[in-house]
Amino acid sequence: MAGGEPRPTETGSTPVDHRYDASLSVNLQDLRDFFLTYQSVIGFAGINGLLALSVYATLSCGQLSLANAGFMAIGAYASALLTVHASLPFAVVLLAGTVAPALLAVPLGLPVLRLRGVFLAIATIGFGEVVRLGFVNWEYTNGALGLVGIPQRAGLGSILAALAVTLFLFLRLRGTRTGCALEAIREDEAAARTMGIDSTAHKLAMLTLGAAVAGLAGALEAHFTFMVSPGGYTFGRAVDMLVFAVVGGTAHPLGPLVGAAFLTALPEILRAAGSSIGIPPGPLRLFLNGAILLAVILFLPEGIASLWRRYGRRRVREGHAA
């Protein structure tokens, strides 16, 4: 942060004090410092944004999938193993991390998606657990200890680029034949089917897309935090992602990003607050997760993003009236 008296430069003249210069509202040095300090938070916000979008994929057609921590784990491990053992280019490794879970989504979804939504929820809870336990028991990946020392190949650039591409994908989906079909399925699946929409195929496509995005996020995270371990892909993680998406709002792809950004920043604030209140941060964070999710689903089911829409619409109406 800029602070203290302006210091004379080497040529002997005193530089202009920009602190009070209103036209230069942001000092470049400030920006760079801010960035370095918060680099990891921004990175995690980006990864969480991807995870939120992966859950949004299935929520957008009215399905609840709790498998995405499992898909994330598969992407993370697959890419990490390729990096550590095969020294492939980063893009290839990321691709593998994206494709591997997508391939598994198909046999998971096929038997279940023709049934009622609750069956998918149950099957995905099971899938997530089995994947986690699989990695815990797999000696090749050091079981519960996981892999460490993964070279940091992912930075803010790759994370934000991946996020931008994924967001673009979801934004372009809206208004297309498929996008309209997904909305219809979400509102009333049986009625949608009588309009010619193959709901099972659409749901499977979104489950697979969600798996791919979750896998991509896992691969990026593995190469951002140097390690993968089964403990990072618990059911709690799957609930986290769901909270991001629901809190942000699932009517628009930006909603999950808003939720992810907000809820990624929150623990930073909490860590300070928790230690001053005396409540250990772990349970507090979990409690807030549950409380926020409950509050949103009961009182603001369309998420935070809908507040903006509601406010925006009222302003438009007032504008027309005036």
Partner: protein, 292 residues
């Protein structure tokens, strides 16, 4: 061999009791209560605290804890399910709201009792052993089996012979018709949640006694078993929950004996998936699995 059968029946009785809770609510409300496993876990802790903290005898702590579990069930119904009943896409909203409550309950358990494993104080659990037909059976195991079966019988009597039971079955059949016939659907649903959570809580206490290892994530590990049981038995079917519960318990014990304990959870998952692929309605379920 007899040893394994006893172990299987013992484990299965707990699974069956737990699964009955899921299936009762599903039968009445057509919804899955994802907070059920958290009640299982909390009730075990409550029993533990009553015994360790208030020095109650386990025979007294058990019913008290079960009642507490029932009250938690009322809370869950009131907070997570009733407000959503009028909504259009209430099927996943109910899943999400009960999931949120489960997370809340887990955080409370973590905050109050900590993440480490807690155990009952020494002397709570009877440690006598008996010999039955070549097998060494713990007295505890027999007690648990008896308590479980007793509760299942009590549930059956409640549903068959009492007015409340008839009303529950009426609402399970068709909520709309029941309302027309004058049944207070809200009250019946609340009662169902009370009973369901009481069963789940009882299973939790029994589980805690059986393995003497209670931690906030114990509900998570049993949840998958319970879900597998209701899928295999048929969602909404009580005989299905009981039969599949015992079957899964036996299957798990035999699999572990043959292949090792790391395959313990694989059994339930495999059973779950096989049924979903081959016969989604389960053994005893009605054919209402498909979407349209």
């Amino acid at each position: 061999m007899t040893q394994q059968v006893v172990n299987g029946v013992f484990l299965g009785s707990i699974y069956a009791l737990f699964a009955l809770g899921y299936t009762l609510v599903f039968g009445v409300l057509d919804m899955l209560n994802l907070a059920h496993q958290a009640v299982f876990m909390l009730c075990a802790f409550v029993a533990l605290s009553l015994v360790a903290g208030l020095h109650l005898h386990i025979l007294l702590a058990f019913p008290v804890a079960v009642v507490v579990a029932g009250l938690l069930g009322l809370l869950i119904e009131r907070i997570a399910f009733r407000p959503l009943r009028r909504r259009a896409n209430s099927n996943i909203s109910g899943l999400i709201s009960s999931l949120a409550l489960a997370t809340l309950f887990e955080s409370i358990a973590l905050g109050v009792w900590g993440p480490e494993v807690s155990r009952f104080p020494f002397g709570t659990i009877p440690s006598r052993q008996l010999r039955i037909g070549g097998a060494v059976v713990q007295e505890l195991q027999l007690v648990i089996i008896c308590v479980s079966i007793l509760m299942m019988v009590a549930l059956t009597v409640l549903l068959r012979k009492t007015p409340l039971g008839r009303q529950i079955r009426a609402v399970a059949e068709s909520g709309l018709s029941a309302r027309v016939l004058g049944v207070h659907v809200d009250r019946v649903v609340a009662a169902s949640f009370f009973i369901s959570s009481a069963l789940g809580g009882a299973a939790g206490v029994l589980f805690g006694l059986a393995f003497n290892s209670i931690s906030p994530d114990v509900g998570r590990s049993v949840e998958l078993k319970g879900l597998a049981v209701i899928i295999v038995g048929g969602m909404g079917s009580m005989p299905g929950a009981v039969a599949a519960g015992f079957a899964l318990g036996l299957l798990e014990v035999f699999t572990v004996a043959r292949f090792g304990s790391s395959y313990r959870d694989a059994v339930s998952f495999a059973a779950l998936f096989l049924v979903l692929i081959a016969r989604p309605r389960g053994i005893f379920g009605k054919a209402q699995g498909r979407v349209a």
